[in-house]
């Protein structure tokens, strides 16, 4: 089966080929299928890991490589009835959670409150606001950070996030609400009246 036909196959069909590696003759086919999945998902996964791992690009690259090795190891756990993206992002989220446990990347109980320095310079204040927002997202607890990044930085739908996190839609929404609430607590010094001029919600 050539590379052209692999491009036409769905993610789930490719993953079935990876799972079906039982003989040396199918090993090559499984390898090609995995390489195609890597081509489709590696950039998005790298972006996700960069956001989840506090912008550590080198660590994010390692995580992408390790994730595809995990796909090979745990290919028997994939359910062909379900979506591949939800399975692979669930693995990615669990890797981040494990990294937090080992390296102590958890939120502080007293998040840093950033004080704006120049209230009359709107562009400078916006820059400070953005910097403070970055910091606040980094400091979120794992479950809140996962849903916030998937929703507002990776642009997944609420149903997709529910599949990835294996939780209900209501749970996803409440986690998103609490994540946003946590962020606003550390940004409350910024006057929301600037909203209409500087920020527009799509």
């Amino acid at each position: 089966m050539g590379k052209y036909s692999q491009i036409q196959q769905s993610d789930e069909e490719l993953m079935v080929q990876v799972m079906g590696h039982q003989s040396p003759s199918s090993a090559k086919q499984a390898e090609l299928a995995l390489v195609e999945l890597h081509a489709r998902y590696s950039k998005k996964l790298l972006g996700y890991f960069i956001k989840m791992l506090n912008k550590d690009v080198a660590l994010a690259q390692d995580f992408v490589q390790e994730l595809f090795l995990k796909i090979m190891e745990k290919k028997h756990l994939f359910d062909p009835e379900k979506k591949f993206y939800s399975w692979v992002f669930a693995i990615a989220s669990n890797m981040c959670k494990t990294a937090y446990r080992h390296h102590g990347k958890t939120i502080s109980l007293n998040p840093e409150v950033v004080q704006p320095t120049a209230l009359d310079d709107s562009s400078l204040e916006k820059k400070e606001f953005i910097a403070a927002l970055h910091k606040s997202i980094e400091n979120l607890e794992h479950y809140h950070k996962t849903v916030f990044v998937l929703r507002y930085l990776e642009h997944f739908s609420l149903n997709e996030i529910a599949e990835i996190t294996e939780s209900s839609l209501g749970t996803v929404k409440s986690r998103l609400f609490y994540a946003t609430k946590k962020i606003t607590e550390s940004l409350r010094h910024y006057d929301p009246s600037f909203e209409t001029a500087l920020f527009k919600l799509n």
Binding site: E31, L34, V35, H38, S42, K43, L45, L46, G47, I50, K51, K55, V57, A60, Q61, V64, Q65, F68, L69, M72, F129, I130, L133, H134, I137, F148, Y152, L153, L169, G170, T171, K173, S174, L176, F177, Y178, T180, K181, I183, T184, L187, R188, Y190, P192, S193, F194, E195, F199, K200, L201, N202
Partner: protein, 203 residues
């Protein structure tokens, strides 16, 4: 509670504060302040504008073929079983010259030692030497009493001068040397015996 948070989230994501109808506005204000509502919307709008470093993913590196034996990960229980088998095998098949297990009994001193032949055990009692083939030296330790019985009960030859095992030896102590009988003078039953003087007068 989750329903309230879920509804609040839906409103924050979809409507500005001015776009809320009266019922929605009263619901929102029962949960959070107007300032917080506006700030949360500001945070969500800003988040979508955040920029992160763009990077190209590195090429996928797949492991080549089978891993070498030493590079494979082995479950811990298999390691423990292997180590135990190695120890048992070493214990069973290795034997050193002159190695012995000295098992002493108070009444029948006995020496048990491993010979140069694997699986063979030498049992020595006094001048009697018996060689027994055993499945493992572990059996020597565990079945010592049985082993002693095997040596003494099943052996065909016995020493000429050896005392029987059934004989209960009486421990020698000063009690044995003490006389416990009464003298003739003190013995009351002596009066029933004829006097010696009478024998002399009988004709």
């Amino acid at each position: 509670m989750e329903d309230h948070m879920s509804r609040l989230f839906d409103l924050i994501e979809s409507k500005s504060f001015e776009e809320l109808d009266s019922e929605e506005r009263s619901f929102v204000l029962s949960e959070i302040s107007e300032e917080e509502y506006r700030l949360q919307r500001k945070v969500l709008a800003s988040a979508e504008e955040l920029q992160f470093e763009e990077a190209e993913p590195l090429p996928l590196v797949l492991p080549k073929g089978n891993k070498p034996v030493l590079a494979r990960s082995v479950p811990l229980y298999q390691v423990l079983i292997g180590a135990a088998c190695l120890l048992i095998g070493f214990f069973v098949f290795s034997s050193k010259q002159g190695s012995s297990i000295d098992i002493r009994f108070l009444e029948n001193p006995l020496q048990v030692s491993l010979t140069n032949t694997p699986g063979e055990v030498k049992v020595i009692h006094d001048t009697i030497v018996e060689k027994l083939n055993l499945r493992s030296p572990i059996q020597v330790v565990r079945d010592t009493i049985t082993l002693v019985q095997t040596v003494f009960v099943n052996r065909n030859e016995t020493r000429m001068l050896e005392a029987s095992t059934a004989l209960n030896s009486i421990p020698l102590d000063k009690n044995l040397l003490e006389t416990k009988t009464l003298s003739a003078k003190e013995d009351g039953s002596m009066r029933f015996l004829p006097m010696l003087n009478d024998f002399g007068s009988m004709k």
